[in-house]
Amino acid sequence: MDDIVLLEAVERYLRGEMSPEEKAFFEGLRKKDPEVDQLVVEHTYFLQGLETFGTTKAFKHNLQEVEDKLIEEGLIGQSQLKGTAKLLFLWKKYQRNIAVAASIAGFISLLAASVMVTYTKKYSNENYRVLVDQLNKTNREVSKLKSKEIGGVLVNEKPEVDFRATGFLIDGKGYLVTNAHVISKRKNIYIENRKGDFYRAEALYTDQDVDLAILKITDTAFKTVTNLPYSIKKGNSDLGEQFFTLGFPRNEIVYGEGYLSAKSGNDGDSTAYQLTVSANPGNSGGPVINRNGEIIGIITAKDSKADGVVYAAKSKNIINLLEKLKKLDDKYQVIKIPSNSDLKGLDRVQQVKKMEEFVFMVVGN
């Protein structure tokens, strides 16, 4: 049938302009021919879109006219408060950096204090061996830190890192997820494993709205791993669901546990959950795993004023992001997220053991 004749028929049908016989005939045709049926559905959607476009455009036009009138009158545009707002903005903008600086300072002074305590103990405590061991350990930590600063032996690149967060594999070929805020405006991104090896990585896709990013390790030195033990949950999780987290608030992996306290994030954000768990700078991008070994979320932020109020992006956002990425470029069709969890039924310690090697530090500058 001629396309145009068919389109006209569809429009008359939708507007109810057909005679009863014609309508019966057309409906019969819809039933028999799925293509005609599809065309009717598609055209209905399209015409609605066109209609909405027209009315919205007319409405926007009127809005603009009203606005122009009110600007002229002076109702819109009085901005006495702007000065304060600017200052407040600057304070809020730098507040986070100040907090980070403060926490680094805190960390360093604590480290120094523990070294001092060790030395004091060395002289006052009789259990000398153990203390030497501790001291050496401390030294190793310190030298490790130093080697990172100047580019130690383990590092093929020589990254000078000025931030640390968490990321985890979603595909053993080197695809990871972390937060968008972790990597935005960064020049270099590295993934650091437990042994202290660095791998260069790049961001393939970031979404500021849900605050997630997909990274790919680009270093050839990275060896593909097979069979990630956890899966990524596609649906929503329930209030009260218990979970554990893994992340790097320190230079070492840290375990945490908590429960899901609200089904939406900050200010009703439906793309996130509110969690009750302890989280600190460095936990960003860390996985939130339920007892079946499914990743249900990704830690993104915490409330600076309320205790233990932490926000996490919902795991289904990962799937959405991947879909968008695959649409951008067919070559990403190779990304396959794990759909089955091997962690089900294991006790927590075993779950963490199996999982921790796939959770990485995300560092860089």
Binding site: D3, I4, L7, E8, E42, H43, F46, L47, G49, L50, E51, T52, F53, G54, T55, T56, K57, A58, F59, K60, N62, L63, E65, V66, E67, K69, L70, L75, I76, G77, Q78, S79, L81, K82, T84, A85, L88, F89, K92, K93, H181, S184, Q208, D209, D211, S264, N266, D267, G268, D269, S270, A301, D303, S304, K305, K327
Partner: protein, 188 residues
Amino acid sequence: MVNTTEHEQILLKGLAQNDKNSIESIYRENYTSIQSFVLNNNGSVDDARDIFQEAMIVLYEKSGLATFSLNCQIKTYLYSICRRLWLKRLQQLGRFSTQLEILEEIVPVEEEIVDHEKKNEDFILMEHAMGKIGEPCKSLLDAYYLQKKNMQEIAGEFGYTNADNAKTQKYKCLVRLKKLFFAQYKNT
């Protein structure tokens, strides 16, 4: 004297019909408080204008639905929408702050915003597609589908010899527009 709810019902009905006086009244009654909210939370007057316009569009979209009912005052509704939109905007700009103080009552508006974003995407796609089809297609489709003129009128206006020719041309244009529209759809 009409009471508040009656007054608001009239405004909402007017809004649904794109009535300029209703739009103006809603602006007069609500814009200033939204502007101070945005200014107090890292925004500028321009931000406030944008956010308020968008919130008005959300309310307009909602007011046109057959199932429409507003369970709160217009003021509360607009404030809730603006608050949510502004928070989102702040996040996008990386000026995120968790400390947006709640000064007024708010109602949940997440669903509306999701709906609105979907509609807005379609609006932008349609605008692009319309921008690409060129003339006389654009005006032809505008006259028929948006201004609801009949084919006879259109034929006369555009200089077609008869309504049937105009109609054939209109369908050809429509097919092109549709292709452009759905092609972009697949790319997003």
